[in-house]
């Protein structure tokens, strides 16, 4: 009971494990490229929670700075990936990742 009521490192790690699992599930099972991207965002958020949790209970600033850089990289990744998805949609008229199987028209 005491472990449930005092919030510690394990609580944050549990949430991040669930987010990672759901993100992997989305990347693996969904056909829509945009939902796959949402799964990738979930995985990045899970990593961020881990970084910040370890940073808090360690007392250092390394995890915080790393989380900041991860957010920047995630923004760049989302912009590029959506540009690619829109190009794929213009070419194939669908964003179904399992039907895109040729490298050239």
């Amino acid at each position: 009971m005491e472990q449930l009521t005092t919030i510690g490192l394990n609580h944050y790690l549990t949430i991040s494990a669930f987010l990672l699992g759901f993100g992997l599930f989305a990347v693996m099972t969904r056909k829509n490229a945009i939902v796959v991207l949402m799964g990738v965002e979930l995985i990045l958020n899970a990593a961020n929670i881990n970084f910040l949790a370890f940073s808090k209970y360690n007392g250092g600033m390394e995890g915080v700075m790393f989380a900041l850089f991860i957010i920047v990289i995630a923004a760049a990744e989302a912009a590029i990936a959506l540009a690619i998805v829109i190009n794929i949609f213009k070419l194939y008229k669908s964003v179904d990742v399992s039907s895109i199987d040729s490298m050239k028209e």
Binding site: I7, A17, N45, V64, I86, N87
Partner: protein, 170 residues
């Protein structure tokens, strides 16, 4: 704030985060996924406040909710006709995917809960860390900071270049 209130609010935000993340993954409607992702991002931002990373929480709201989520919604609207019935997203590999979900999450949780070596440091982060982030950015992390700014600029120019519409008649 008493310890009990703190715990209750933590569990509330944890439940919001995990349930809306599950809804993102398990609903078939892409638009529902995108809006559910909003709640996940807000829940994660609240957890960052609990982790005394207030600056990261605000950045999370501004960048994820204000930027990435809007981009994702643009993508959804671009690639699905709104006039038609909402497009369902098909699933494949449902059994390996479920096995992966259960396996990865279970293995991580088993590792976390059977590791008894988590000893919190004497000097955990307390209060606001905005000032420390400023010092770190301009001292130890100044080179990664500049590199990441150039990377972001290049990525955004590249994205605008990739997604442009070809002018007819060229």
């Amino acid at each position: 704030m008493s310890n009990q209130t703190y715990t209750v609010i933590f569990y509330l935000f944890a439940a919001i985060t995990v349930c809306s993340a599950a809804f993102v993954v398990f609903t078939r409607n892409v638009i529902y996924s995108a809006f559910s992702l909003l709640f996940t991002f807000f829940g994660v931002a609240a957890l960052y406040v609990f982790l005394s990373a207030d600056f990261i929480a605000v950045t999370q709201v501004v960048v994820y909710v204000g930027g990435i989520l809007v981009l994702l919604l643009f993508g959804v609207m671009f690639t699905n006709s709104i006039m038609q019935a909402p497009k369902k997203s098909e699933v494949l590999h449902i059994i390996p995917g479920t096995l992966l979900l259960a396996g990865i999450t279970g293995a991580l949780l088993y590792t976390f809960y059977t590791t008894h070596g988590w000893m919190p440091s004497e000097t955990t982060l307390q209060g606001s860390i905005v000032e420390r982030i400023g010092f770190e950015t301009m001292s130890r992390y100044v080179l990664p900071f500049e590199m990441v700014s150039i990377l972001l600029l290049a990525a955004l120019i590249g994205a605008a270049f990739l997604a442009r519409f070809d002018k007819p008649g060229k």
